[in-house]
């Protein structure tokens, strides 16, 4: 429990209405979207409305050794926003202004609480888009997604959040405010701070402003679906598309378990004997190029024994997308706990990884379906279990351990887009080794020696 005196100081800093201490408030900020994590109520929730307020809050927290947990919309999937050590949840829900859209420089300057979809609606009138599109675009904030370096469905062609953050204003653990980067495409001044803070999960500094890169919205697109009788055919089709020199905007894959579950859930006429399904979308600025790319994709799909469906209208496109959109909801409907992982492998190992996930599911007698972004090797093995069945939950933990082990063995990584947070911290050494862990700690302690910022995430607390 924080001293009343601290609460009063916070109230003086940001206004009484922006300091929440009721038990209901604390419950509401005790979790994020990550399954299978204990909840922890903070001592207080503070909703700043300016960077200067954030500076003062950080100074106050540092003087009093209080943990600060920055939070956007709390939709992340690695426990990044859970206030493990209580203290202050710093919610950016009220710093949600789009400060500037600069169509000439293809940039936008936003406060961290701006919802990604809101930025996209604001830039649409200029014919522009901000491409990163995690599944939560309609709710997730720019600050949160930058801190987590979110990916999404368009990663293969358009990259992820880190490719679109050109500059920032960050409040450091010292209370200092630093600005770097900006509107220039080229900028090699000093260290590449943007890439240090993007994906730092709030452990190194608190983002208070972002300069984002925009691109012209693609004018044409074609959507196709391929249904395959074997996983090998689907894997060969993915390789074939890339070999045909087509980089689709979307190249999604689903395994048999997911296909069956989606069909049971949504009744959209998917063949339940299929082993795999690919959803492919190509887009671009020229109709001819997009058409040529679509034809190349169709050839590859049929050439690999795929049953091809194409969309001619927006309505048909929507139908093709229904399967993918329903993948997670359908799987989630099977039980009360959804463990959604994001182990990622080189694209050429996608088929191997899908088979490995299925085998792991069988080995531990679990309900496991896998879908994901085949184009960038980022898969979502999804395990469903009963959270009240401890024995089953224990088997889930073993299966997850093994999924990560396999991903690393295939030359992949622990997390493609969800981040490390608390959920994957214990596996970090497996990928980075001791020297990597040391580097992590050195960077953390150089910037936040007292572990004030999002403590207990990414870098374990020092035991003393």
């Amino acid at each position: 429990m924080l001293d009343q005196n601290i609460i009063e100081q916070l109230e003086a800093l940001v206004g009484k209405e922006n300091v929440l201490t009721g038990k209901v408030d604390l419950v509401a900020y005790s979790y994020d979207a990550t399954a299978d994590l204990p909840r922890q109520m903070p001592d207080v929730v503070v909703l700043p409305t300016s960077a200067e307020m954030v500076q003062e809050i950080v100074r106050l927290a540092r003087r009093n050794k209080i943990a600060i947990y920055p939070r956007g919309a709390g939709t992340n999937l690695s426990g990044g926003a859970v206030p493990l050590k209580k203290g202050i949840v710093l919610s950016f829900q009220k710093m949600n202004a789009i400060l500037e859209v600069d169509a000439a420089n293809l940039t936008a300057v936003v406060q961290p609480g701006v919802v990604i979809a809101a930025l996209n609606s604001a830039v649409a009138q200029h014919g522009l888009i901000y491409p990163p599109d995690p599944g939560t675009v309609a709710t997730a904030t720019m600050g949160g997604s930058a801190a987590e370096n979110s990916g999404g469905l368009r990663g293969l062609k358009y990259g992820v959040t880190k490719n679109y953050i050109m500059g920032m204003e960050v409040v450091l653990a010292s209370g200092e405010k630093v600005r770097f980067g900006g509107k220039t495409v080229k900028n090699v001044t000093a260290y590449d701070f943007s890439n240090l803070f993007v994906g730092s999960e709030g452990t190194l500094g608190i983002i208070t402003e972002l300069t984002a890169k925009l691109i012209p919205a693609p004018k044409y697109r074609r959507t196709m679906m391929g249904v395959f009788k074997s996983l090998a055919d689907a894997g060969n089709a993915v390789a074939g598309i890339i070999a045909a020199q087509v980089i689709p905007a979307t190249l999604e894959i689903m395994d048999r378990m997911t296909i069956r579950t989606v069909e049971d859930f949504a009744h959209i006429g998917l063949p339940v004997d299929a082993e795999s399904l690919l959803l492919i979308e190509v887009d671009g600025m020229s109709e001819d190029v997009v058409r040529a790319e679509a034809e190349a994709v169709m050839q590859v799909v049929t050439g690999n024994n795929g049953d091809l469906k194409t969309a001619e209208t927006d309505q048909e496109r929507d139908q093709l997308w229904t399967a993918r959109r329903n993948a997670l909801p359908a799987l989630a409907s099977l039980n009360n706990m959804v463990v959604l992982e994001d182990a990622t492998v080189p694209r050429s190992r996608i088929t191997d990884m899908l088979i490995a996930c299925q085998d792991i599911g069988k080995k531990y007698n679990l309900t496991l379906g896998t879908f994901g972004h085949a184009g960038d090797g980022n898969l979502h093995p999804t395990i469903l279990c009963d959270k009240r069945n401890q024995e089953e939950v224990a088997r889930v933990h073993k299966a997850v351990d093994e999924i990560f082990e396999v991903a690393l063995r295939f030359g992949g990584t622990l997390s493609g887009e969800h981040g490390i947070g608390v959920a994957k911290m214990k596996y970090l050494g497996d990928e980075l080794g001791q020297s990597g862990l040391n580097l992590m700690r050195n960077i953390k302690e150089a910037l936040d020696p007292e572990y004030i910022l999002n403590p207990g995430k990414m870098v374990p607390l020092r035991e003393n």
Binding site: V24, Y29, A33, V45, T136, P329
Partner: protein
């Protein structure tokens, strides 16, 4: 109701309204993904987690785990800071029936602490329709003392002395509301309105809003049905649908109202029940089935009527073939999707079809037509600030269409839009969509008259 669904509603002779435990599985379905944040109108206005569905579910879990008390003032405030608009349910990947959760919680709260005296006084009159009717009629006669009427005579606003005390809850001089009518709809019309050459007879559940606040729209609905050769029964013994009471957790009163309504409509011998209000129709289609699920006599009757309840637009376009409107209605019209009409009754295509079939009428879709208007029945009274913040957005969307007429399928939304559109400087007429069809049918006659 499917059997699996039934188990989530009723257990050991109790429904979730009687036993909070029953919604536990519903709570379990929530992944805390936060998708509700993008559509929850209250969250959109308040911008804090406590306003949004997933947090209400987290708090409900804490209540069931004994970590929070149901009657903690903050829990109470949070539970009532919800419009029960069901928007979250349309965007929920795991299909959490949040309406059941919020109603179960509010009912549990009433079981624990009883109803506040004011609600108790108001709800008890609903069970005595004559008393309720007398009260509203006295109100209608007296409203001139406290309210002034606008030039068209359609809306009223508080007079200044009352506006001064009522300003805090939005009863300032700018506030516009529909006037109470001295002669309610059900007093204006006989219990059976015959139609020449009638092919079908239907029973019309007027609801209180069409009866007392918008009797002209109710009359239009009857006229449209008779113009389509439908005989209309309007039983006088019908009472409030109960939704305004249900959302306050007074389940026993709703059960009384529901049973009386069922008995009353059983007696009509009609095959179809027609509504002109999304909340009333939703009550007949869903709420009665749920609250009476453990009642061996009325449960099956509720299911019987649930299958026979139609919004007037659905009835006109899906059950019968609407008589083509020929009279020209020279208006630019936009349409607001009432939450209970779209999200509970799944009616959204039919009113648009009707509007687009009217000659002379230009239809303009507003952006986010199914975003809640912020009314939520009594929410507008208890949370005026949040409600108007939501209403302001709606009014802006309406103004951008440059329509001169806003059509709606639910009287509560009509009241809310009247106030908010006016405050945003708009001059649009707010009308029930059925009134535009009635206008076309009437024009048809006068057009013919002028030609001959």
């Amino acid at each position: 109701m499917a059997t699996t669904d039934k188990a989530q509603v009723v257990r050991a002779g109790k429904t979730y309204h009687d036993d909070l435990e029953i919604v536990r599985e519903e709570l379990d379905k929530c992944m805390k993904c936060g998708n509700c944040m993008s559509v929850c109108p209250v969250y959109g206005a308040d911008k804090v987690e406590t306003a949004v569905t997933r947090s209400k579910i987290a708090v409900a879990e804490a209540v069931l785990a004994g970590e929070l008390e149901l009657d903690d003032p903050q829990v109470y405030a949070m539970l009532f800071n919800c419009l029960v608009c069901k928007s979250c349910m349309t965007n929920c990947p795991t299909k959490v029936n949040f309406d059941r959760i919020i109603l179960a919680l509010r009912a549990a709260l009433v079981r624990k602490n009883g109803l506040p005296w004011l609600k108790k006084a108001i709800f008890s009159t609903l069970k005595h329709p004559k008393l309720f009717d007398a009260g509203l009629r006295i109100g209608a006669a007296m409203q001139g003392l406290a309210f002034k009427t606008d030039k068209g005579g359609k809306a009223i606003s508080p007079r200044s002395p009352f506006a001064r005390v009522g300003g805090a809850i939005g009863f300032d001089e700018e506030r516009q509301m529909p006037g109470l009518n001295v002669t309610p709809l059900r007093e204006r019309v006989p219990e059976v309105v015959k139609a020449p050459g009638a092919v079908l007879k239907v029973a019309f559940f007027t609801g209180d809003s069409l009866n007392y606040f918008y009797p002209d729209a109710g009359q239009d609905l009857i006229d449209v049905l008779t113009a389509n050769n439908i005989e209309v029964h309007i039983p006088k013994a019908q009472n409030c649908c109960g939704v305004p009471v249900l959302v306050h957790g007074d389940v026993e009163t709703v059960r009384t109202l529901a049973r009386n309504n069922i008995d009353t409509f059983d007696k009509t011998g009609c095959e179809y029940l027609i509504t002109g209000c999304g909340s009333c129709g939703g009550a007949w289609q869903h709420d009665y089935v749920d609250i009476l699920a453990a009642d061996p006599v009325y449960g099956p009757k509720a299911e019987y009527w649930a299958k026979r309840t139609y919004d007037v637009s659905t009835f006109l376009t899906r059950i019968i073939k609407l008589r083509e409107p020929k009279g020209r209605v020279e208006r630019v019209v936009t349409y607001h999707d009432s939450c209970h009409l779209k999200k509970s009754m799944k009616v959204f295509a039919e009113p648009r079809e009707i509007l687009k079939s009217i000659p002379g009428l230009t239809f303009k879709e507003m952006s986010a037509p199914d975003a809640c208007c912020g009314s939520g029945g009594s929410f507008v009274l208890s949370h005026y600030e949040t409600s108007s913040a939501i209403g302001r957005k709606k009014a802006d969307d309406i103004n951008r269409t440059q329509a001169d007429t806003v059509s709606v399928g639910c009287p509560a939304c009509m009241m809310q839009l009247l106030d908010n559109v006016h405050r945003a400087g708009g001059q649009q007429e707010i009308t029930h969509f059925i009134s535009l069809l009635a206008e076309s049918y009437r024009k048809e006659k006068t057009d013919k008259g002028s030609r001959s």
